[in-house]
């Protein structure tokens, strides 16, 4: 592990992913510290979701390795990564549609070896936190889109992760839902000493949530650091923020 990176961090170093000869990620290194929300931004197709897939062991790595709080993760082992404390959500919500909201959340706790009674208690607490307790017995398929997103985050939290990777968590939400989510997310790192990586195209949301951002374009890191510095980075302006940022400047 690199000397300046805390042993409690999630470190994905020199990650390269190739799909049939196409290099989707090219030597990306990213660090998520406990207790922080790190933004991952970049234009469409830049490799943001692929990076989350690589960290969670869902796509094979051509090079690189993932270390979670000092433990090196085996390759292509999503279950090991999950049990090591890395939770995630998806760009397109993936709930267990036939299960109730409560069962969805419980499943994550049960997978960690928590007893049913305790898993139910955890689910109740988290659903209360996310304002979803009244819908605990609703079949997940019957929820509206915003609620599905909230349940997906609640489910990821039920596994008591050390790190949470959120792929466009506010996508499809209206303004008030998005603000409510933002408020809830801001509480999480402090409450749970949780490190969060968040992908979103909504720059005001990223600015509100994150101190640091990591920018990738065409599978490569083009900038990383404090958001105010990154916003001024010419490579970022060119690749991602584009004309609106130039106008702002």
């Amino acid at each position: 592990m690199q000397a300046d990176i805390p042993t409690t961090a999630l470190l994905a170093s020199n990650i390269t992913v190739e799909f049939a000869g196409l290099r989707a990620l090219d030597g990306v290194t990213i660090v998520i510290n406990p207790g922080e929300i790190l933004g991952l931004i970049g234009p469409n197709g830049s490799g943001k979701t692929t990076l989350i897939n690589a960290i969670t062991g869902q796509v094979p790595l051509a090079t690189g390795q993932v270390t979670v709080a000092g433990d090196v993760m085996p390759l292509s082992a999503p279950r090991t990564v999950a049990l090591s404390g890395v939770g995630r959500t998806f760009q397109i919500v993936r709930l267990f549609d036939q299960l109730t909201v409560s069962e969805n959340v419980e499943t994550a706790a049960l997978a960690k070896g928590i007893k049913r009674k305790d898993a139910r208690k955890i689910a109740t607490e988290i659903l209360q936190e996310f304002g979803m307790l009244s819908r605990a017995e609703t079949i997940a398929a019957n929820l509206n889109y915003g609620d599905k997103r909230r349940v997906e985050i609640a489910r990821a939290l039920a596994a008591t992760p050390k790190f949470l990777l959120l792929d466009e968590p506010a996508a499809g939400m209206n303004e008030s839902e998005s603000q409510m989510l933002c408020k809830q997310l801001l509480e999480l790192p402090k409450q749970r000493n949780l490190g969060i990586l968040i992908i979103d195209h909504d720059m005001p949301l990223i600015s509100r949530l994150c101190d640091r951002v990591h920018v990738i374009a065409s599978g490569k890191t083009i900038a990383a650091g404090l958001i105010e510095n990154v916003r001024k980075d010419p490579a970022v302006i060119e690749a991602y923020l584009g004309s609106s940022a130039r106008q702002d400047a």
Binding site: D97, A111, K112
Partner: protein, 296 residues
């Protein structure tokens, strides 16, 4: 009235056996999206276990318990031998390996036991008849109905209340997601095969109880019945499998009562015609289960 009572008992007894068989097939299909074509051989295994224990002097219930255990064992073995090594490959590969495992088991029975039918020990209660409302029916039929109620209740409890059940339902809805949450994939799949073996083992006692003997090819008919029942009910739906089993029994029993003697030999043709009509009406089966998820 007597005929109606007889008819209802026949439908419930046959439907119960069909439903349990279909359930055993659909529980594996629900998770793996693959049909276990070696499923019928679990009935054969249970039958030959009973045959081999004949004359040991053990009480029949003990022999039946061992037969069911062997069915569970071979159910799990199907996973280890035919599915696990190739399940990440193509559907064709798994189809071939499950057919191959079925053929190996049948040929092992042919080679090491006999191609001829072998009598199995059955308790006296299986040959007893009872009279209900004037209808004379084998007590075995009532036992089949009772066993179906017990098994369906246990199954429902397992799926709704137990940790394994929740994990299995989650895996049946979205296997990849369940794995990513840390649900142990291999354990869930093996458990599905074990439950499938348990259901086949229990059904085998009543199925073989009607015939009184076992042959190497005994598994084909129950496999076919289970497959048709699940197709009618909905391949991905557990309640659909049960409904399909009872509906198929209703069609079979009705045809037995309605068809004139000279047309009875065409009963299966009539049954399949009804199945085709049902599928033309509901191509996905009567009850639509979870959306077809990604295979493991």
């Amino acid at each position: 009235m007597t005929e109606l009572i007889q008819f209802v008992i026949d439908v419930l007894a046959l439907g119960g056996a069909y439903a349990l068989m279909a359930l055993g097939l659909v529980i594996v299909y629900g998770i793996l999206k693959l049909v276990n074509f070696a499923y019928g051989e679990l009935i054969m295994v249970a039958g030959y276990t009973l045959f081999l224990m004949d004359g040991t002097g053990l009480p029949w219930l003990v022999m039946a318990a061992v037969a069911v255990l062997m069915s569970i064992f071979f159910g799990v073995a199907t996973d280890y031998v035919a599915f696990r090594p190739v399940r990440a490959k193509s559907v064709t590969a798994v189809l071939i390996t499950s057919f191959a495992f079925s053929t190996i088991l049948q040929n092992a029975a042919l080679l090491f036991i006999s191609p001829r039918a072998r009598n199995i020990p059955l308790p006296d209660v299986f040959s007893t008849t009872v009279t209900i409302g004037g209808a004379v029916t084998p007590l075995r039929n009532l036992l089949t109905i009772a066993a179906t109620i017990v098994m369906l209740t246990l199954f429902t409890w397992l799926m709704r209340r137990s940790i394994l059940g929740i994990a299995m339902r989650a895996a049946a809805t979205n296997f990849t997601m369940a794995r990513m949450l840390g649900v142990p994939a291999n354990l869930i799949i093996s458990s599905a095969f074990a439950i499938s073996g348990l259901l086949a083992g229990v059904v085998s006692l009543f199925w073989l109880g009607r015939i009184g003997s076992v042959v190497p090819g005994i598994g084909l008919e129950p496999l076919l019945v289970a497959f048709i029942a699940t197709v009618i009910g909905g391949m991905r739906s557990v309640p659909g499998a049960v409904l399909g089993g009872f509906l198929l029994a209703l069609i079979d029993t009705s045809l037995n009562h309605i068809l004139p003697q000279d047309l009875l030999k065409f009963r299966d043709a009539f049954t399949f015609s009804f199945v085709i009509l049902i599928l033309l009406w509901k191509p996905d089966g009567l009850i639509k289960g979870p959306a077809s998820g990604q295979r493991t």
